[in-house]
Structures are given as C-alpha cells and as structure tokens.
C-alpha cells in the first residue's frame, strides 16, 4: 500500500481529467470562434459557467451528506459533506474571478451586480461560515451535528438568495453575463467539454480531499484510543483491549 491518498482509481481519473481539460482548453481558447459582440472575452464563459456548476454540485453533495449524517450518524457522509463544501468554496473563488474578469470587457466594470455573480458570491461567503464552523475544536459529534444542520439550511438559502437577487435585478433590467451571447455549435461544444473537464477535476479533488479527512478522523481516533490506554495505565494495568466504539 503506498503512502499517499493516491490509488489506481485516482491516478486513472487524474489522467483522464488532465487530457479532457487540455482538449477543452484547446477548444475554448483556440478552435472556438470569438463572439460577435464580445469578441474573445466570451472565452471566459468556458471558465465561469462550469465552475458555477461544480460549486453548486459541491454544496448539493454537502446537503445530501448532511441529511444522511443526521439520519444515521455515518461518519463517511459527514466527511464527504465537509470535503464537498471545501471544494465548492474553492470553485466559488474561481467563478468569482472569472465572472469579474468577464464583466470588465463586456460591461466596462468588474462588478455590475449581475444576478448570477452576486448570488454565487453570497453563497461563497455563506459556506466560508460553514467551513469556519467545521474547524472549531468542539467535541466531534457536536461539531458534526451543527455542521450538518448548517449544511442543509445553507443550501436552502442558496436557492432563496438566487431567486430574490434574480428578481431584484430583473426589476431594474440588469443584464446577466452571457445571456445575450450568440452561441454557435462549436462554442456550445467547447462549453460542454469544459464542463466535463471541470467535473472530472472536481471528482478527483473530492476523492483525495475525502481521504485526507478520513486520515484526520483516524488520527483523532488513534489519539483517543492511546489516551484511553494511558488512562488505564493510571491504575497500573487493569483490563486491556476494551475497544472503544
């Protein structure tokens, strides 16, 4: 057994992700034509839209993991929820960067309160709070239970924020990035390819991040069992092998 979180699966998945990403970049940056109005700025769409999709998917997995954890207390789903949230937050950074950089050439300003970009930024901040809660040094079951509740409620909020902001900008005829872009066949294909590439990368990251979380979990349990044995030692011997649940 090797000494990293890598495995045959992650190596193969990683290779596939890299290849797909390379092709997607080629299409996105080279083969696909510039857009009629935005010229080449449209190429940022291949970055902005897929990263939004991955971020939403990540936070959706967090919600699912939180629900399963609250129902049957399985550590696996608790750790998956935490790992997926971290990846969601990382991809939120990507979508904010790409969104702002796409806005500048298109509207002349980095931030023009585009409904999608605004609501995804609020989502990003919300899950920074979720990650902060998970890092607190609380008793593990207390922390996981509170994180699970937050994991479920936060996703509900993502939807509320999404529609209220959309409604608000719709009121003032605000424009959404890329809504008026004329997409021809090749551009659509590049977008699709880019989405697949980012999904593969996200999956690869999730597996590794989960295994890191699992190792951390094991370390705390080993630490606990060692403390238990030491504690037993205070009495000089006494029954050994009492396996903690």
């Amino acid at each position: 057994m090797n000494r990293t979180t890598g495995s045959r699966l992650t190596r193969r998945l990683g290779a596939l992700a890299v290849v797909t990403m390379a092709i997607a970049l080629a299409f996105g940056l080279v083969f696909s034509p510039p857009e009629v109005a935005q010229r080449d700025a449209v190429r940022l769409m291949y970055l902005h839209l897929p990263t939004i999709a991955v971020a939403y998917l990540g936070f959706f997995i967090t919600m699912v993991g939180s629900i399963v954890y609250l129902r049957n207390g399985s550590v696996f789903w608790d750790l998956v929820a935490g790992a997926a949230a971290e990846i969601g937050v990382v991809f939120s950074v990507f979508l904010i960067v790409s969104g702002a950089l796409w806005g500048k050439p298109t509207w002349g300003v980095y931030w023009q309160w585009d409904p999608r970009l605004t609501s995804t930024t609020v989502m990003f901040l919300m899950y920074l709070g979720y990650l902060a809660l998970r890092r607190l040094d609380l008793p593990p079951d207390v922390r996981s239970r509170r994180a699970a509740i937050l994991g479920i409620v936060s996703f509900g909020n993502v939807i509320i924020v999404r529609y209220s902001v959309q409604w608000w900008r719709g009121l003032h005829q605000g424009q959404t990035l890329g809504v008026d872009t004329q997409l021809d066949g090749l551009m659509l294909f590049s977008l699709f390819l880019s989405l697949v590439a980012f999904l593969l990368v996200a999956a690869w990251l999730l597996i590794h991040r989960f295994r890191v979380a699992w190792l951390e979990h094991q370390l705390t349990r080993i630490g606990f069992e060692r403390a238990l044995a030491e504690r037993r030692g205070d009495l000089g011997g006494g029954r050994v092998g009492e396996e903690a649940r």
């Binding site: 901040l125 919300m126 239970r145």
Partner: protein, 230 residues
C-alpha cells in the same frame, strides 16, 4: 410546547427589564448607526431622477434596515449569552423543556425587543433622513414580516453558534448571508410603502412572510438536535 415557549419568552423579557441591556445599550447603538449613515452620505446630494429627493432620503429604507440588522445581531448575541453562562444549557436539558418551545420562546423575546427598537429607530430615520410616509399601514405590515424573518433565522443561527468561544465573530458570518435576501426584500418593500411607488412592493413583502414561516419551521425542527449535545 407553547407553554414552554411562553415561559422562556417571559423569562428572557424579565431579564431584559432587569438588566436593560437592549434599551440601555443596543438602542443607542442603533441610533448611532443611523447618524453615522447620515454622516457617510451627505444629505445635500440630490437624486437625478424624477422628483428632487436627497440621496439620503432615497436610501433611507435600506439604511434603516441595516441599522436594525446590526441591532438584531447584538440582541440575538445577548439572548444566547445569558443561556451559555453558568451551565444553564444543562439545566434546560435537565428540565426537559420542548426544544421547539425554547426556540419559539427565545425568538418571541428577541422579536419583542427588536420591535421596540424599530419603533424608536423608525422615528429616528424619518426625522434624520426626512423621508415621506405615503402608506403607513403597509409599512407596519412590512416591518412585522421583516422583523419575524430576521429573528426566526437569527435565533436558529445564534443557537448554532451558542456556547462557543468564537460566538461573536462566527454568528454574524453565518447569519448575514442568510439575511441578505431579507435585507433586500425589506428595503424594497419599505421603499414602496414610504415613497408610495406604484409597484406596491407587495411581492417582496410576501417573500419576507414566506421566509419567516420557513425559518420558524426549520428552527423548531433543528432545535432538538442542537439542544441534544452531550
């Protein structure tokens, strides 16, 4: 369950009357925030739009609700600070009160205190920002809906942060993104009520009401697991 809620609310309000923290500290803080907004946005700037109205008056609904939001954060923090000292959470668990009742009770107490704050801060905003008052009745409905929306979500998130050393920094980070749409809806519906705009702002008020109901339900459900800590 309602009995427990009423018991908790009465106890919280009696503590407030005895300690006068909300009236004595949080209310002046709210008024101060209103004034600071006034200083930040110079009153003589005028809006280019249709009728001549100062930027300050135009922004007064949003500024008012920002001040209320800050005051709400302090009131919520206070409401859970009194429980976490001296092991009172253990005593509440030993008493076997219905967690949903505890949630409703705390929420009611904070809502009452916030309503009192809003009345005073409301007058302050009208005076300081000399905003008109086209439809007072609609304003009252809007304020009720917005306040319950703030306190229902606020109480749940304050509970998530309760008992933690980092409570004062974590709770605002958790609750403010959640209250972003509430601030948006409250500001827009207040704008409609205050300036008497044709759009009426009623859809936004509806959003506030739905948000409040949703969070009362979620809060009552989530309080069981939150109280159940070892």
């Amino acid at each position: 369950m309602l009995r427990d809620a009423w018991l908790m609310a009465r106890k919280d309000l009696r503590i407030e009357l005895a300690s006068k923290v909300t009236i004595g500290q949080i209310l002046p803080f709210g008024a101060l925030v209103l004034i600071l907004f006034g200083l930040a946005v110079s009153p003589d700037l005028t809006v280019l739009g249709t009728d001549r109205r100062s930027v300050l008056a135009q922004a007064s609904p949003g500024l008012f609700w920002m001040a209320v939001l800050f005051a709400a954060l302090l009131t919520l923090g206070r409401s859970f600070a009194i429980e976490s000292a001296d092991g009172k959470l253990d005593a509440l668990r030993m008493a076997g009160l219905d967690p949903a009742g505890i949630f409703l009770g705390k929420m009611l107490a904070v809502t009452a205190q916030l309503a009192a704050l809003e009345i005073v801060l409301g007058f302050g905003a009208f005076v300081l920002y000399n905003a008109p008052l086209a439809r007072p009745l609609q304003l009252i409905v809007v304020v009720i809906a917005a306040t319950t929306a703030i306190t229902s979500a606020g109480t749940l998130y304050a509970a998530l942060g309760s008992g933690l050393r980092v409570r004062d920094t974590l709770v605002p980070l958790l609750v403010l993104p959640v209250l972003a749409p509430v601030l948006l809806a409250a500001a827009l519906s207040t704008e409609a009520a205050v300036f008497g705009e044709s759009s009426g702002g009623w859809p936004w008020t509806l959003l506030l009401g739905v948000f409040a109901l949703l969070y009362v339900g979620v809060g009552m459900l989530a309080f069981g697991p939150i109280m159940e800590e070892s």
